[in-house]
Amino acid sequence: MKTSRSLSYYFQSVLEVGAAWFLALLWIAPLVYAFWAAFHPSEYAVHFDIFAPLTLANLREALSQAPFLRYALNTFILVTMVLIAQFVLCTLAAYAFARFRFFGSDIAFALVLVQLMITPEILIVENYGTLARFELIDTILGIGLPYMASAFGIFLLRQAFKSTPKELEEAARLEGCGVFGVLWRVYVPLARPTYLAYGLVSVSHHWNNFLWPLIVTNSVETRPLTVGLGIFGAPESGVDWSIISAATLMSVAPLLIAFLLFQRQFVQSFMHAGIK
């Protein structure tokens, strides 16, 4: 009786390992397939041959057909600009909410949180009008501006600042630190994990963002990778599938490599981010 039970238990766990591996293979298959197509001549995109010759021609072809390096530079500028602005603006606002019980702070905080629900891409029509009025259409600044004050960033940093012991602030004050000295020497250093988590989420979000940049940009000099890729991959452009795969992988490579290197931080940040 006992052995048959443990035998069935053993059988069950073997089954489970099999199921886990099968599901994992199924899940990674589309990406593996894209890799296969990108690094083999296009006639092998539709039929498999383990001995098919490897090639970088698709990458070269993609680079010659569309300015992906320029798009990558645009994305890099956009992501960096948004991240720096978010860190500065959200730090200041979060500091205000965490440590200054100023008049109207509760209502102001509630109004800030509205942005968690109504993100800028919902209001594309009006925000496009606003950018047009300031002549920021087709600029990288225009893509980033609506995201620079982030309710999510303010919320996360406020939590972090609030959990900082008040005694540390008092000690810093006795040492002669002013309002900004305390922020810079006490609050910001202690919130480093929050900055990392928020930074990863922000960078991957803006690296991947598509709809708003599509609306704002209309030239090679401003278009980020996603928009470039969207135009490149559109069915009417009639590009070879191997080349599309190569372009797609090139566009996601920096983020994918970063993810593989910092897997744990990524997963933790995304979790942090989801739990608003």
Partner: protein, 292 residues
């Protein structure tokens, strides 16, 4: 007293830079959208004028509006329960010590960090008639020759399957976090009592995961309204609006048909839906859920 007063000054000064941008790109446009939905479309000869609820009457009589709303509902019904079930299965599978656990977990999570546009590009080829991967497998069984994205009956389901692939791994991490907080003694106790594992899951684990499920569900519903990137590559909302979603229709109205007032009217509906979900999140979720 002056120190006390400075508190208000500092508070507002620190908040001001962020507040200006938030007002400019969130609060002002929200109000402007509502106002614009009450005005007619302006042309060169006929300027925009106040028309009351005429745009809303037009919307109610617009079959495409009802079509995209229904599509949004089907999209949510098609993606959310399946992704959640898969996410729970994935989390349970990688929550125990199995060989290559971190690789398996990585396989599940990787689609999450890819841009939707890249995902759509990859899947576009799978759905290509005849030479696409799915049709090749199907033709092996003698049922090939489908135009998955070009057929009104299969366009939305195709998009649903791709979205499940993209999102299940994201939801998995919340279940993993939740599972790690469940004491292992519970399972031991259940096993000693002789209950089957399915019984343990149904009567112990699943109820304990309920807060996570509610949380994931609300976020998934929000995502289903906000994410339309893939439509630009896969179907452009077609064929005949079979896969069109509300936000994509707003985009079309504003930037393809240049009717910004009608787009504003549609946006008000979207804002209303989001507001309802915000209230649900606030009243249902925050009352019953402890995140950590």
């Amino acid at each position: 007293m002056p120190r006390n007063f400075m508190r208000h000054v500092y508070g507002w000064l620190l908040l001001t830079p962020a507040a200006i941008l938030l007002i400019a790109f969130t609060h002002y446009p929200t109000i402007a959208t509502v106002i614009n939905s009450l005005f007619s479309k302006g042309t060169a000869i006929r300027p925009s004028r106040f028309v009351g609820l005429a745009n809303y009457e037009m919307m109610i009589e617009d079959p495409i509006f009802w079509k995209v709303l229904a599509n949004n509902a089907w999209f949510a019904i098609g993606t959310i329960p399946t992704s959640i079930i898969l996410a729970i299965i994935m989390a349970l599978l990688v929550n125990r010590a199995i060989p290559f656990r971190s690789l398996v977990r990585m396989a599940f999570f990787t689609p999450t960090i890819l841009p939707m546009i890249a995902v759509a590009n990859i899947w576009l080829f799978f759905y290509t008639p005849d030479i696409g991967l799915i049709d090749q497998i199907a033709s092996f069984f003698g049922i090939g020759g489908h135009n998955w994205l070009g057929n009104p009956a299969t366009a939305l389901p195709s998009i649903i399957i791709m979205t499940i692939w993209k999102e299940a791994g994201f939801f998995m991490i919340f279940y993993l976090a939740a599972l790690q907080n469940i004491p292992p003694e519970l399972e031991e106790a259940a096993r000693l009592e002789g209950s089957t594992r399915w019984y343990y899951f149904r009567r112990v684990l699943f109820p304990l995961l309920m807060p996570t499920t509610l949380f994931v569900m609300i976020n998934a519903v929000l995502n289903s309204f906000k994410l339309v990137d893939h439509l630009f590559v896969l179907t452009k909302g077609g064929p005949d609006n079979a896969s069109n979603l509300l936000l994509y229709y707003i985009f079309e109205s504003a930037f393809s048909f240049f009717d910004t007032n009608y787009a504003a009217t549609l946006t008000v509906v979207l804002l209303g839906l989001l507001a309802v979900m915000a209230l649900m999140q606030f009243y249902i979720l925050d009352k019953r859920v402890h995140y950590r």
